[in-house]
Amino acid sequence: MTGQKMLEIKNLHVKLEEEDKQILKGVNLSIGAGEVHAIMGPNGSGKSTLSYVLSGRDGYEVTDGSATLDGAELLEMEPEERAAAGLFLAFQYPVEIPGVGNMTFLRTALNAQRKARGEAEVSAGDFLKLVREKAKTLKIDADMLKRPVNVGFSGGEKKRNEILQMAMLEPRMCILDETDSGLDVDAMKLVSEGVNALRSAGRSFLVITHYQRLLDHIKPDVVHIMAAGRIIKTGGPELALEVENNGYADLLAEVV
């Protein structure tokens, strides 16, 4: 039962680099291979910060603790090394990159990761076939593929584009930061199906969300509640229902 965890976060303390502000105050979290975990929590509790720190964004300072992916120390790697090691973050606010075509972006990323892992590059033809096939299931049209990365995309289109990247890059540890926000009901289904199609014994998910609805589609094994920079409660899917019905007040009261 023990085995190695896919993602193991221990006592993670993070402050802002520029300010004396502690944001994560001892996060402990471990996700086994093939598991889906959800994190819920009030605004500003540190959920996005956790996802950024794991993927290597500048501006944060780890003051204590560790995070490992398959046993390898994540926090010492460059962001691109973490990606090549199999980590993926679907951003809460996907970034627009004027002047870089979506296709060029996807292909550059895919080949860079393959190169880093010592694998052969994907040929232009194979890439095109693959991207078309994946885009179709997410209802991303040819025009969106041609346009610059996320430029002029609607909120929902940006989120679908994140899932397309995930489907193309086939990461082993996927973090989804509020991928459901801004999605209409149909798009939520599409995205969830996209995620479910990727679920496998060797791939794990950390799904950050405010709403139970997403978790109806993507059934989590474990639900965590984060507040003020800590995981304050861990349970099964019923925990999400409790939040949906009662909000956070009772949960917060329990820990104080």
Partner: protein, 428 residues
């Protein structure tokens, strides 16, 4: 108007070693230019138009020494493009290295041979557009060029040119001081593409006068680079008739001092002029784009798109003006100048100007200066793209709007490849 004695002395010193063959129509044009030049004097750093760029090394008597370009594995620009090649070595046409200039749809004459012959169409062009371009701002270095150009080509497109005409410059002497003058006439409905590239000389003064007649189409793609100690001043004077199209793109890499001026007059109605530049500089680099677009015809469109990537103390300058004359209704003028500063040492100086005397026009201009977008950089890296490659992608993305002004996709691709090469070589 009396010109200060100091300026006159400087002019006398500058032209002391220069001479031109008198006689013929060309001799008359040169004599006229010399008279105009004497009245103006050479530019000095006190002149408002040279406020951001010190012209002294362009005006001193002898060209400052410049190391020769050393060929390496990097291909020269346009190497894979099918074109008619005309080669100039230190400002002198070299027939041995050039292609046979016979081509359907185009007449090509060497300026050095033209004086003695009655080339009617060129007589209305040589020094004429340059002279028109002296209002309202004087450009004496162009006039000096008209008076003393040592060589050049006269190109007349009468139909659709089968291939681009490629002007290739070679730098052979460390102290060469080349003055080239080209004239291009695009007749009614004709179309031509002119390419220019290669280190030309230690100091290079070049003028290109372009007249595009009704419905004619002119494309110009130029690459300045590889000669790190280059000092160059270039002028393009263009005049467009009704429905004419003018598109010019310049890639500038390195060079100690480069001043590229473009003076464009949209004379007829419904004409379109786009001037664009992508410049990349590392270290001892001073690059100046000075553009003056005049809208005289109605419903004309002009675009100025200038982008500069600067690092290690490189300096970029942009002076751009759109003048909309009375009666030039429905003018659509656009101007953007932007710099991407890769470090805190580099500098971008911009002076965008609009002067409008018509009431029904749409004109916009913008100028920005900024660093690389850290959020975009992180986004790319989080997808596995290594730092350097991600930076390169963002630099090319920054330049994309300028490169998009090149219509021919193969040429645009070639320019992108040269930029990628430059980025790889100037990776800190």
């Amino acid at each position: 108007m009396a010109v200060a004695a100091a300026k006159q002395d400087a002019l006398a010193a500058r032209i002391a070693g220069l001479s031109f063959a008198p006689g013929g129509w060309l001799g008359a044009a040169r004599a006229g230019a010399l008279a105009r030049l004497s009245a103006m004097g050479l530019p000095g750093k006190r002149d408002e138009y040279w406020r951001y760029t010190d012209p002294s090394t362009l005006t001193v008597a002898a060209a400052p020494k410049a190391a020769l370009f050393k060929a390496d594995d990097e291909p020269m620009t346009f190497h894979g493009i099918d074109r008619l090649k005309l080669v100039f070595v230190d400002g002198v046409f070299d027939p041995a290295q050039s292609d046979d200039p016979a081509m359907a749809g185009v007449e090509i004459e060497r300026l050095g041979d033209a004086g003695a012959r009655d080339i009617h169409w060129a007589q209305g062009l040589y020094g004429v557009l340059e002279a028109r371009g002296q209002q309202p701002v004087e450009r004496p270095l162009a006039t000096l060029n008209s008076a003393f150009a040592s060589d050049g080509v006269l190109i007349r497109a009468t139909g659709k040119a089968a291939r681009p005409v490629s002007l290739i410059y070679h730098h052979a002497s460390e102290v060469s001081d080349a003055i080239l003058h080209h004239c291009v006439k695009v007749e009614d409905g004709a179309e031509i593409t002119i390419l220019e590239n290669g280190p030309a000389a230690a100091r290079f003064n070049k003028v290109m006068e372009v007249e595009v007649a009704k419905g004619g189409r002119f494309h110009h793609i130029r690459s300045q680079g590889r000669d790190h100690e280059r000092r160059a001043v270039t002028h393009i004077f263009a005049r467009l008739a009704e429905g004419a199209l003018f598109k010019s793109f310049t890639l500038t890499a390195n060079g100690v001092l480069t001043r590229n001026e473009a003076v464009i007059e949209l004379a007829g109605d419904d004409a379109v002029a786009h001037v664009a530049g992508a410049a990349v500089g590392d270290g001892n680099f001073h690059h100046d784009d000075t553009v003056f677009v005049t809208h005289a015809g109605q419903r004309c469109e002009s675009r100025q798109v200038f982008k500069k990537v600067l690092k290690n103390g490189a300096v970029g300058v942009f002076q751009g003006k759109i003048l909309v004359k009375q009666g030039a209704q429905k003018t659509d003028g656009y101007q953007i100048s932007q710099s991407l500063l890769l470090d805190g040492d580099s500098q971008f100086l911009a002076k965008p100007e609009l002067e409008i005397y018509a009431d029904d026009v749409k004109c916009s201009h913008g100028s920005t200066s900024g660093a690389i977008d850290e959020t975009a950089l992180f986004y790319l890296r989080s997808r596995g793209v290594p730092m350097r490659q991600a930076q390169g992608l963002l630099v090319l993305a920054f330049l994309a709007e300028a490169i998009a002004e090149i219509e021919d996709e193969a040429i645009a691709e070639d320019i992108r490849a040269r930029l990628e090469g430059w980025l790889a070589r100037h990776d800190h």
